[in-house]
């Protein structure tokens, strides 16, 4: 992990309330898909943990939804040419094993962005089917990026485009046809719970990336813990954010 004074290349809106920030770390860093970074926003005491979406040489793109003061300030105060302080890469990331050829990727909301990094990393090496859920047509973004390396099924809550329902439902309907060897997922907790239920007798590894309010982002402060099914706690920032779904209580 490195503390980097990065250069903002672009910070633009890509869907309703969703922004894409690209910065140059000035040197190539070893960033895996599913890892995240801690971004300093002005003089706020806490950094914002945001998943890496794309890595292109020394250029890193993260996408975020306007949620509170910090993300709003990140959207309004950072422009091309500004510097932004970032600690990265953090967390474990997604790993797909050699024998796992067919990868199902299931995302909802801003959970699609860390999955895009996985689609990019394994695109061309694996067969990837992506099932991405959005509120409505206006919320859909980065469609072209996903289609480059995956067969994409879009699901919307209101049916305004694609499958009318959730990403997990769309995935379940397609399960027998695609027959995945492994599943990667990220999204709201109800979505992950539905996925856990849907996959409980399938005998296929399912890896989920979790989100939690963080302090340090590196595993020291024990703020962002999640419950494990064995009764212990895991640190989302350091032991995760990616966990095998059976390991964690959702």
């Amino acid at each position: 992990m490195r503390e980097v004074n990065a250069l903002v290349l672009e910070n633009k809106i890509i869907a309703e309330d969703v922004y894409s920030l690209t910065f140059s770390t000035k040197e190539r860093l070893p960033i895996r898909c599913g890892q995240f970074c801690m971004i300093a926003v002005g003089a706020r005491p806490l950094r914002r943990p945001i998943a890496v979406c794309k890595v292109d040489g020394e250029c890193v793109t993260v996408c975020y939804r306007l949620k509170g003061e910090g993300t709003r300030a990140l959207a309004s105060d950072y422009h091309a040419g500004d510097s932004v302080t970032v600690l990265l890469p953090l967390g474990n990331g997604f790993y797909v094993k050699d024998g796992e050829k067919r990868v199902a990727v299931i995302g909802g909301g801003v959970g699609i962005f860390p999955l895009i990094s996985a689609i990019r990393e394994y695109g061309g090496k694996k067969e990837i089917a992506a099932y991405m859920g959005f509120r409505n047509k206006q919320a859909v973004c980065m469609e072209e990026e996903m289609r480059k390396n995956a067969t994409l099924t879009i699901a919307t809550d209101d049916g305004s485009v694609g499958y009318h329902g959730t990403a997990v439902e769309a995935f379940e309907k397609d399960f027998e046809r695609f027959k995945p060897d492994v599943v990667l997922a990220c999204g709201p907790t109800p979505m992950l719970r539905a996925l856990k239920e849907a996959m409980k007798d399938k005998g296929i590894p399912v890896y989920v990336s979790l989100e939690e309010r963080m302090g340090c982002g590196i595993g020291a402060c024990l703020v962002c813990v999640c419950d494990k099914t064995n009764g212990a706690h895991a640190r989302v920032c350091k032991d995760g954010p990616v966990f095998e779904i059976g390991e964690v209580a959702l």
């Binding site: 992990m1 490195r2 503390e3 300093a40 706020r44 005491p45 806490l46 950094r47 910090g70 302080t85 600690l87 939690e212 309010r213 963080m214 302090g215 340090c216 982002g217 590196i218 595993g219 020291a220 402060c221 024990l222 703020v223 962002c224 813990v225 999640c226 212990a232 706690h233 350091k238």
Partner: protein, 302 residues
């Protein structure tokens, strides 16, 4: 190059900067970012006799210039610390073992276990005392004195730091109570109790409802309390509360502190501690200060 070393209770620190308990784990994670042997010491995550899982999440919130936390003393227990982390940390720097308990017996046993193994024991007395209806040990001067005395009686070798809570009637009286109980040193301030509300949900952001407030916004309160404590006792003081830079740290020294702890700023900037050490050196050089210890208690009131 100024001499930044300070001596606390006969123990020399290479500089006065110590990351505060709860913000730095046992040092291993930050050591991946910089070599923590540059630090004056490390105050460990609060240790209890048995492992603790802590509070439900969310455990943290941000407000203007401050954060709130309610981790609830999650820690692997003192035996795990001794077995897995202590030797590693001792090779890096001075070890300030922060300890907590629910009963006087807890404090006694954990102090006895760590005596002679660490450089300092720092007593977290902001925990609820289960035998007195949950009121924290650190609130009333009588219980501050009692818990200090019990801890001190278990310590034959290691100096005892008592970490004072600011949520009290008189910081001076509690400082005196700790001194009377046998403390070798005081550290202050611990966090102030606060609340932050998510107005959309009409609920506190933190699962525990209230949390400890820390960060830049509490610094004036902390400096005032360090000043008051320093003038109430003859013990050395470790000052903390909202230190973000060397200039903040110098305020605490002038108010009466001999050493310093840096907490929340480790989250804001993971390189905060080494930057503050560098900044202290530069400030001393600019002001012709040869030994940083010369600054302690040099405040002149208007």
């Amino acid at each position: 190059m100024a001499n930044l070393s300070v001596t606390l209770c006969g123990v020399e620190l290479k500089n006065p900067v110590i990351p505060a308990s709860g913000t730095f784990g046992f040092g291993r994670e930050f050591d991946e970012i910089y070599d923590i042997s540059c630090l004056g010491g490390v105050a460990t995550k609060g240790l209890t006799p048995e492992m603790r899982l802590g509070n439900p999440v969310p455990r943290i919130a941000e407000s203007r210039g401050v954060i709130l936390n309610a981790v609830g003393l999650q820690n692997p227990g003192v035996e795990s610390f001794i077995k897995n982390d202590l030797e590693w940390l001792k090779h890096k720097t001075r070890v300030v073992a922060n300890v907590a308990g629910k009963t006087l017996e807890d404090y006694e046993s954990i102090c006895a276990r760590l005596d002679g193994l660490v450089d300092f024991i720092e007593l977290n007395i902001s925990c609820p005392n289960v035998k007195s209806g949950g009121m924290a040990f650190g609130i009333k001067p009588e219980s501050v004195e009692e818990v200090t005395r019990v801890a001190k009686s278990a310590l034959k070798k290691t100096p005892l730091i008592v970490k004072l809570s600011p949520n009290v009637e008189s910081i001076a009286r509690n400082a005196q109570a700790a001194e009377k109980g046998g403390a070798d040193c005081l550290s202050l301030i611990n966090t102030l109790t606060g609340m932050a509300i998510d107005i959309e949900r009409r609920k506190p952001i933190i699962a525990n409802n209230t949390g400890g407030v820390s960060g830049a916004g509490i610094k004036p309160i902390a400096v005032r309390m360090v000043y008051e404590a320093a003038h109430a006792v003859s013990l050395p003081i470790i000052g903390m509360g909202g230190i973000t830079c060397a200039e903040d740290a110098i305020e605490f020294l002038m108010a009466g502190a001999t050493a310093l702890q840096v907490g929340t700023q480790n989250f804001t900037d993971p390189l905060a501690c080494p930057k503050i050490i560098e900044g202290l050196n530069a400030w001393c050089d600019r002001h012709g200060v040869k030994n940083i210890g010369e600054l302690t208690g040099t405040l002149k009131l208007n």
